[in-house]
């Protein structure tokens, strides 16, 4: 890209997480945007600080310490914008935020399996917890429904239902119940309302709810017709409503919003925006997957040629909701990932104790191992829930498998802080259990959402930063679907390097095979499956492909799909240690 097309402005990106506030500086170097440096500090949305600005300033001070650039004014301690002739300040600020309690949400739709499902998927695109649902099959009287809404004290109500120009009478009844419930709540606690139903009723919605909702936004219908679901316009409006809600709930958000000139987005929304953008840019035919594990939520964003499936799951976050993960999984399902010999009771107490102190980090190896096991199960669950919302074109060949994808990008504390790139990769392989052949990237500085927010100021910035190597290439993973006994050879692989040398490997079922290929290099990988194994080219099909290297090189995961772990705990732990050793320990 010609340098003249790049606006020469420096951008400070701020991400306020539930535990950590990160800041990153992007600037133009030799005509192209580069990630310069990052700083971080504990987040301060919670008591005793109760003002996100404290953590933001501390993170910026840490960044100043790294870069030597003055970003905060000495007089007012505010971000200096635009940049000054003396080199201080930045030209623009963008921000994302995931800190804050889960958004208590009531969803309403007409048909439980149509519009209500759309409302649920829309709610899942942000940091929400559904506290009540209303639909036509609801057997409660209208006054019982409104009592239930009042008691659940929602922050947000999402109303969907009716195709454009379709049913209106039932919808109006529902609007009345929601309007009355809003009316009965104290003014400062009235929920924000998003209406994304039959567009013909927009005027009625304004009349019935406009005076009673905390804030009312009307978006295009998520179900313009029975066959079509279009969440994107409504999710844009929802992102802005959630930002407004955070401005009402948390001190310092207003200030950040103003500093970012309104470019403040929910973190997951910004992550999703990046994935949609990248899937279009790289014309991904099979899809890109991005996962992020944070204290507030686990987020799964999948882009399929410009179409986005975004799922935000506070119930699978590794912070204050951790104790509640047992409402979604059996403790034995977490225990299966455990490399330590501990009791399920010890694990249970660990979960609840950690939820008391969400911002704390593991201090010992044992604690770290327990957190890694929990993270595996949380991500496993999040991906399985998210997979249900993938478009029909991206369905897997079998219900118990993931669809084939083109690229995976992973970020968030639990993944990036695994201890080594190998451990991060193993966590992803265990939890996601991908199939086929795809490169894995590690977003160790959590830049993905920041780039999504920065895209509002410069379309070039995200592309140039990613192409400059801001993410760590973990390697190219070949995941094999096979049915064999442990130790039987299921694949012969040959990697031909650019310098004409070759490495050959007989890959045995149940193991992980690593073939070195440094970052930045490509090589020709020939795969010859045995026993009708599928190494990404089809069952029993051989072939050769060009692959890119990474920190680990080429990783052949021959443990089978889905991954079946031995029931015997001793044998299972032994295998896990072996796998861990295979990726570098």
């Amino acid at each position: 890209m010609p340098a003249s097309l790049v606006q020469t402005e420096s951008i400070l990106a701020i991400d306020v997480g539930a535990s950590v506030t990160r800041v990153a500086l992007f600037d133009v170097v030799e005509g192209e945007y580069r990630f310069v440096a990052s700083g971080q500090a504990p987040s301060t949305a919670e008591a005793p600080f109760k003002n996100i600005g404290i953590g933001v300033r501390e993170a910026i001070q840490n960044l100043q310490g790294v870069t030597g650039t003055t970003l905060l004014g000495t007089q007012d301690n505010n971000i200096i914008t635009p940049s000054q002739p003396d080199g201080s300040g930045v030209d623009g600020v963008v921000a994302t935020m995931s800190a804050g309690p889960a958004v208590k949400t009531v969803i309403a739709g007409l048909l439980s399996d149509v519009s209500l499902q759309s409302a649920r998927r829309l709610a899942e695109s942000t940091y929400s917890r559904v506290v009540d649902t209303l639909d036509l099959s609801d057997k409660r009287r209208p006054d019982q429904q409104l009592d239930s809404i009042v008691r659940s004290r929602p922050d947000l109500v999402i109303l969907t239902g009716g195709t454009d120009g379709g049913a209106s009478r039932s919808m109006l009844k529902m609007l009345e119940a929601v309007g009355l419930a809003c009316y009965l709540m104290p003014g400062e606690k009235r929920p924000m309302v998003l209406y994304a139903g039959n567009h013909k009723l927009a005027g009625d919605v304004q009349e019935l709810l406009g005076g009673h909702a905390g804030k009312l936004q009307i978006s295009p219908n998520v179900r313009p017709s029975l066959e079509v679901e279009d969440l994107e316009p409504a999710s844009n409006v929802l992102a802005s409503l959630v930002t407004s809600l955070r401005q009402r709930q948390i001190k310092g958000v207003d200030e950040l919003y103003n500093a970012a000139a309104g470019n403040l987005l929910p973190t997951a929304y910004a992550q999703g925006r990046m994935i949609r953008f990248l899937s279009r840019l790289y014309e991904s035919t099979r899809g890109l997957l991005s996962v992020n594990m944070g204290a507030s939520a686990s987020t799964v964003a999948a882009g399929f040629n410009g179409e986005l499936a975004l799922g935000v799951y506070p119930q699978f976050g590794l912070g204050e909701n951790l104790g509640a993960i047992l409402q979604h999984t059996e403790i034995e399902q977490i225990m299966r990932w455990m490399q330590l010999d501990i009791s399920s009771n010890t694990l249970r107490e660990f979960l609840f104790q950690k939820s008391l102190y969400p911002s704390t980090i593991p201090a010992t190896q044992d604690e770290h191992a327990i957190m890694q096991a929990i993270a595996r199960q949380a991500l496993y669950l999040a991906v399985r829930v998210a997979q249900k919302n993938f478009p029909a074109s991206a369905r897997a060949s079998r219900a118990d498998l993931m669809p084939k994808l083109d690229l995976l990008i992973a970020g968030g504390g639990a993944i990036a802080d695994s201890g080594s790139v190998g451990k991060s990769l193993l966590l992803l392989l265990d939890a996601i259990q991908p199939v086929g052949i795809m490169p894995f990237l590690l977003d160790q500085n959590n830049l993905m959402p920041m780039l999504g927010a920065a895209a509002t100021r410069s379309h070039y910035l995200p592309v140039q930063v990613i192409e400059s190597g801001a993410f760590i290439g973990m390697g190219t993973v070949v995941s094999v679907i096979a049915s064999a006994n442990y130790g039987e050879t299921i694949l012969r692989a040959k990697l031909a390097y650019a310098d004409k040398t070759e490495v050959r490997a007989d890959v045995k079922f149940g193991g992980l095979e690593i073939i070195p290929l440094p970052s930045g290099q490509t090589a020709r990988l020939t795969l010859s499956p045995l026993r009708r194994a599928d190494a990404g080219l089809g069952a029993g099909r051989s072939g050769a492909i060009t692959v890119t290297g990474g920190a680990l090189g080429i990783v052949i995961d021959a443990r089978g799909r889905p991954l079946n772990l031995p029931a015997d705990a001793v044998r299972r732990r032994e295998l896990m240690k072996r796998w861990s050793h295979a990726v570098g320990g």
């Binding site: 504990p42 600080f49 409104l146 009345e176 009965l184 009771n345 609840f352 980090i361 201090a363 080594s420």
Partner: protein
């Protein structure tokens, strides 16, 4: 780096808001001295609502239905009272299904508040009313010992505190809870079974202050009518030495156990208040500080969770931890003389 502060203080000025969940009437007045059981505010609120669809019942347009409604907003109506009448030769009527108050009368409907309930808000702690918050409650100011915990079952009560703990890792069992502790606040150790919680309810006690309990008891703990306050956490954790010393030295004194839920956003957390007489009012505690060498700290995570120590040295930059992670850290000298490295995010200043 900024440090959250855990209050375990022998004498401090304590200022606490006591608020109704809904708007009501404040009975207390400014500078009034209150005892824990004084009702300082009260409110009536409707548990439920009744929606009467006049237009639909009479099968008439909304505008016509509005003319048939015989009650006005804010009217109090008795059960069976006439609320709407169609008129004409074959007049039909609608009567109030329950006694209540009309909230909305219009749009062809009547919305009534029904099922009135009364809330009485007690002071909860002895002190002086320092501020009236109209229709909501009061701010009470008192002086005494303040000990904060990590979990509470949402209840509050007060009484004479009896210590049933001899050493920090003691286990409180049902056998220790007999008639001699009736009406008291019990200072116990770790609770490991449901029988202990049930025995405390049977006695009954006015509250349990525990070092720790098993998380499997959470559901039952929420059902108990008396306050349960956990100081250190879940599992089998001994009581932190700072709280142990302070609480055991206040044996037999009146204590308020406010076992409210730990709300990490508004800062409310479960706490024990032991009011003490003072001649000069002590300072209010700071809610946060900056980490510095010499500070007394409590460890929040294993392997030394709940232990008290002092910061021997703040390490510059980021340090490698035994877990393999890198973080800002300090060397902490524990009470047993051992010095350990701890990430700052795993510490809270005691003060």
């Amino acid at each position: 780096m900024l440090a959250p502060v855990l209050h375990i203080l022998p004498l401090v000025t304590i200022v606490r808001e006591r608020l109704l969940p809904v708007a009501g009437k404040v009975n207390a007045h400014l500078n009034q001295r209150v005892s824990p059981t004084d009702v300082i505010a009260e409110a009536n609120f409707a548990r439920e609502h009744a929606l009467i669809d006049v237009a639909r019942t009479f099968n008439v347009p909304v505008k016509l239905a509005d003319r048939m409604i015989k009650v006005n907003e804010r009217d109090r109506v008795a059960q069976g009272a006439l609320v709407a009448e169609s008129g004409g030769m074959f007049s039909r009527s609608i009567r109030a299904p329950r006694a209540g108050r009309v909230m909305v009368a219009g749009g062809g409907q009547i919305l009534m508040e029904v099922g009135d309930a009364k809330i009485e808000l007690r002071a909860g702690l002895p002190g002086v009313v320092a501020q009236i918050i109209p229709e909501k409650g009061v701010v009470i100011r008192t002086a005494g010992a303040l000990i904060q915990g990590v979990w509470g079952n949402g209840r509050i009560d007060n009484g004479s505190m009896i210590s049933l703990i001899e050493k920090p890792d003691d286990v409180l069992t049902a056998e220790r809870l007999d008639v001699s502790v009736r009406g008291s606040v019990i200072l116990g150790g770790h609770v490991r079974d449901a029988d202990t919680l049930r025995a405390a309810a049977d006695v009954p006690v006015r509250g349990l202050i525990l070092s720790s309990m098993y998380s499997s008891l959470l559901q039952l703990a929420y059902q108990m009518k008396y306050p349960i306050l956990v100081l250190d956490g879940f599992g089998a954790m001994p009581m932190n030495s700072a709280a142990f010393k302070l609480l055991t030295t206040n044996d037999k004194r009146d204590a308020t156990v406010n076992a409210e839920h730990f709300d990490r956003y508004n800062g409310n957390r479960p706490e024990v208040i032991i009011p003490l007489p003072v001649t000069n009012e002590p300072d209010e505690p700071n809610s946060y500080d900056t980490f510095a060498a010499g500070q007394i700290v409590r460890m929040k995570r294993p392997p030394h969770a709940g232990m008290i120590g002092s910061i021997a040295n703040l390490r510059p930059g980021l340090s490698d931890l035994p877990s393999g992670l890198r973080a800002a850290a300090a060397d902490v000298r524990l009470e047993n003389g051992e010095t350990v490295i701890a990430p700052l995010v795993n510490l809270e200043v005691v003060g």
